[in-house]
């Protein structure tokens, strides 16, 4: 009997042997596959940069704070409070005590030194460290500028850190043009303002004696297109940001021209023109004045936006009975509908990366900012509120800024930003009401 049981056991093990063999995968090392991780801000530490000259003490602290605000503002990073720091950085050239930073779970460390040289130039040096690897991430970098431009230098440092840690292109050293709104809702005064991406350094480019709408940056960031009611009818104007000179775009004779946007070449402008009660899309070369009609449909075509390579245009049309998104060649011709969800779609904007299209969607009494693939697939709604509209992309295509207006007669418009994952929704601080943002390219 015992023999019989042992033989039966042996046979069972023999048949099960291949399973054990597969589990161990032969002679090689243990192999496992990780398919699910966590999504949380990466903890980092940035002690105040070392002031290497007496004039640089305040600047060193301020620059450190701006860098931290930039990084933490992305939602991808979390600053470890300075009162939790164990080590103190008193010399930029001293070796980093990685164990002290590892003890507080700082995965990245930013150290720097700030000085003002004899000619008044501001010099900022920094290094980025991988604490757990115990090594630097990239080389140290030195930036030189004026003391007045210390914020730009701070943004530049933050851009470098962001890019090295995420692999994304940076976007902190950029500006946003928007419509500043003051006064009650039924008598709003609007003027075009420009500011840093974080709401600082606001400068107004136009007066408030006429209604202005939809400012749009040129690819170089030096010019603006905007719509003004200065003549009583909406007309498109070109504004030079450097000298504030402006000129009206010579569009075909029509009733209204509006919704302009630059092409990636900086010379072509596509816009909407209403003539005889019909609104169609037109293109204009601002260098030689040549124009072209792109659509000829009895419906309303508006809100055009070029693809990054300039070959296609996404726009809004109600030719199917309700506002939907369409894509056509930048030369005009047949258009292909890409939005098929419930609701009304509008204000499409092509991502700088070229892979996504941001849009405004109205559905069941709510407004959303969403993104979809260029073929209309994988639609994702990122926000929901009483009124969200007018998305614009950050230079790296990772963040979307838009207008959110609160309900009621006292409703106020404000700028908000959201990561394309739908996380990190936050308001952009402005002194006045603000709407219709347009994000500049990265400053040079």
């Amino acid at each position: 009997m015992r023999k019989w049981i042992q033989c039966l056991t042996a046979f069972a093990i023999l048949f099960a042997a291949p399973t054990f063999t597969l589990a161990q995968e032969g002679d090689g090392p243990l192999r496992i596959e990780i398919t699910e991780g966590v999504i949380e801000p990466l903890p980092y530490a940035i002690p105040d940069m070392v002031a290497e000259t007496a004039q640089a003490e305040d600047l060193a602290r301020q620059i450190s704070r701006v860098i931290a605000a930039d990084l933490s503002g992305t939602g991808l990073f979390r600053e470890i409070p300075r009162n939790a720091h164990i080590a103190r950085v008193t010399n930029f050239s001293s070796p980093v005590q990685f164990a002290d930073w590892k003890a507080i779970n700082a995965q990245a460390l930013i150290t720097g030194g700030v000085s003002v040289d004899g000619s008044g130039k501001l010099v900022v040096r920094f290094r980025l460290h991988d604490v757990f690897a115990g090594e630097d991430i990239g080389d140290g970098l030195q930036l030189v500028g004026t003391t007045d431009g210390w914020r730009r230098i701070a943004h530049k440092v933050a851009d470098q850190v962001y890019s090295r840690l995420t692999g994304e292109d940076p976007y902190f050293d950029s500006r946003v043009v928007f419509v500043a709104e003051t006064g009650p809702k039924n008598a709003r005064q609007k003027q075009i303002g420009i500011m840093d991406y974080d709401g600082e350094n606001v400068v107004y480019l136009t007066g408030s004696n006429s209604i202005v709408l939809a400012p749009r940056f040129s690819p170089s960031g030096n010019n603006l297109l905007y719509t003004s009611f200065e003549s009583g009818f909406p007309k498109i104007y070109l504004l030079n940001i450097g000298n504030l000179s402006q000129q009206e775009l010579r569009t075909p004779q029509g009733e209204m021209s509006f919704s302009p946007r630059f092409g990636p070449d900086g010379q072509t402008v596509v816009y909407s023109l209403t003539s005889g009660g019909n609104t169609d899309l037109y293109a204009l070369n601002i260098a030689n004045g040549q124009g072209q009609r792109l659509t000829a449909a009895p419906s309303i075509e508006t809100a055009p936006s070029f693809s990054p390579d300039g070959s296609r245009i996404v726009f809004e049309s109600d030719r199917s009975g309700s506002p939907q998104l369409y894509i056509m060649s930048s030369k005009g011709g047949d258009a292909q509908r890409i939005s098929f969800g419930q609701g009304r779609y509008g204000t499409p904007v092509w991502s700088p990366r070229g892979d996504l299209i941001a849009f405004t969607k109205q559905s069941k009494g709510r407004f959303h900012i969403g993104v979809m693939r260029t073929d209309g697939s994988e639609e994702r709604l990122l926000t929901a509120s009483f009124l969200d509209e007018g998305p614009t992309w950050s230079p790296n295509g990772r963040v979307i800024m838009f207008t959110r207006e609160t309900q009621g007669a006292g409703g106020r418009a404000a700028l908000h930003s959201v990561d394309i994952t739908g996380r990190n929704l936050r308001q952009v601080p402005t002194n006045t009401g603000a709407s219709d943002p347009s994000w500049s390219p990265l400053l040079q």
Partner: protein, 366 residues
């Protein structure tokens, strides 16, 4: 006529006689009302119906005599009215006027904050009624109020949120030097899923079930000792068959793991421990499309040897994204392995060398 008929006839006759003479048909008198009537004579009746006696038509009324002509009637003369005496206030000549008040220039009255704009009722930020799930007609569960009606003290947290995982220190009575007691801390819970604002209020039920915990590691069972000498030969045969089935005779013994392999639960435990620290939140979309295979050598205490973490292979990404993905994988191994992974020491040979494939397909930004 027979006797029956006689008896029947007699009985019937008797019965009828009893009914008639016995009072069976006497009815009870019906109830009636009785009224007493008095007879009166016709004269008395005439007096009763005669009308009342008329009053006297003439009455002695004193009528005034008409006035004679030329005589004027007496006109009542009004008596000169004298004003009623009213008490006048006494005037005190010595009364001094009120002292002049000290005039202090006051500022303009405070202006009330008046706005031309009509007050606007701020709507609730999240309108549950509007945000019903589009796909389900069932109402979404209403959120509980986030503010308690009565202020209550915040309960003590189980552990303090900190950047470092740390177990509470317990005093060791046998230690020569008492170590300071340390508070238990834990890192903040992280999410493995992105919920956009548009999706927040629509989630009426959890979309994913909680992953079951891994099975605890079983204590190594002591091998049974064979006591019977006669079964030794059979056991050797079985062991030989097992070794042959497991490939134990292939190659030299030093270059392959010895001992039992890791169970599926143990491997899952290692996988879960690593993925708990695999943070892809700061990775670019390109890096999230990159799969990396990383090798690492492990020390016997379950800690990874940091210097041995190497990139073996990658797919789906460019050079910079591969570096980002590898850095994230390396951080995951180092961070969660800093205290040693929970691996059975008796199977050290099985996990001395580990290859981990980090595939972020499920974490990708679409």
């Amino acid at each position: 006529m027979n006797a029956g008929q006689i008896i029947s006839g007699t009985a019937h006759v008797g019965l009828l006689a009893a009914a008639i003479f016995g009072g069976a048909f006497k009815a009870e008198p019906l109830p009636f009302e009785v009224t007493e009537v008095t007879a009166i004579s016709s004269e008395e009746f005439a007096l009763l119906v005669a009308p009342d006696q008329e009053p006297d038509a003439l009455a002695n009324i004193d009528t005034p005599e008409p006035p004679e002509a030329g005589q004027s009637p007496d006109v009542p003369v009004s008596v000169e009215e004298t004003p009623p005496e009213t008490a006048q206030p006494e005037v005190n000549e010595a009364t001094q006027p009120d002292p002049i008040p000290e005039v202090e220039e006051l500022g303009p009255p405070p202006q009330a904050e008046v706005s031309d704009e009509a007050p606007v009722l701020q709507p609730p930020e999240e309108d549950v009624a509007v945000l019903l799930p589009e796909t389900s007609p069932q109402p979404a569960p209403q959120e509980a109020p986030r503010v308690a009606p009565q202020p209550i003290a915040q309960p003590e947290p189980d552990v303090r949120i900190d950047d470092v995982d740390q177990q509470a220190g317990e005093p060791d009575e046998q230690a020569e030097q008492s170590e300071p007691e340390t508070e238990e801390t834990a890192q903040e819970e992280a999410s493995d899923r992105i919920v956009t604002e548009a999706e927040k209020l629509e989630a009426a039920a959890p979309e994913r079930s909680v992953r079951p915990k891994t099975r605890p590691t079983r204590a190594a069972e002591a091998p049974e000792t064979q006591t019977a000498q006669e079964s030794q030969t059979d056991d050797d045969a079985v062991q030989a068959a097992l070794q042959q089935a497991l490939g134990a005779n292939d190659g030299p013994a030093d270059s392959k793991p010895s001992g039992p392999p890791l169970t599926a639960g143990e491997k899952d435990g290692l996988r879960v421990a690593v993925q708990r620290c695999w943070n892809v939140g700061s990775l670019s979309s390109d890096a999230l499309a990159t799969t990396v295979i990383v090798s690492v050598s492990m020390a016997e205490d379950g800690k990874p040897v940091t210097s041995t973490i190497k990139l073996l292979d990658s797919s789906g990404g460019s050079g910079s994204s591969v570096k980002q993905a590898f850095d994230a994988a390396r951080r995951a191994i180092i961070r969660c392995g800093s205290k040693g992974f929970d691996l059975p020491i008796e199977k050290y040979a099985a996990w001395r060398e580990i290859e981990m494939t980090f595939n972020p397909e499920r974490m990708r930004i679409k």
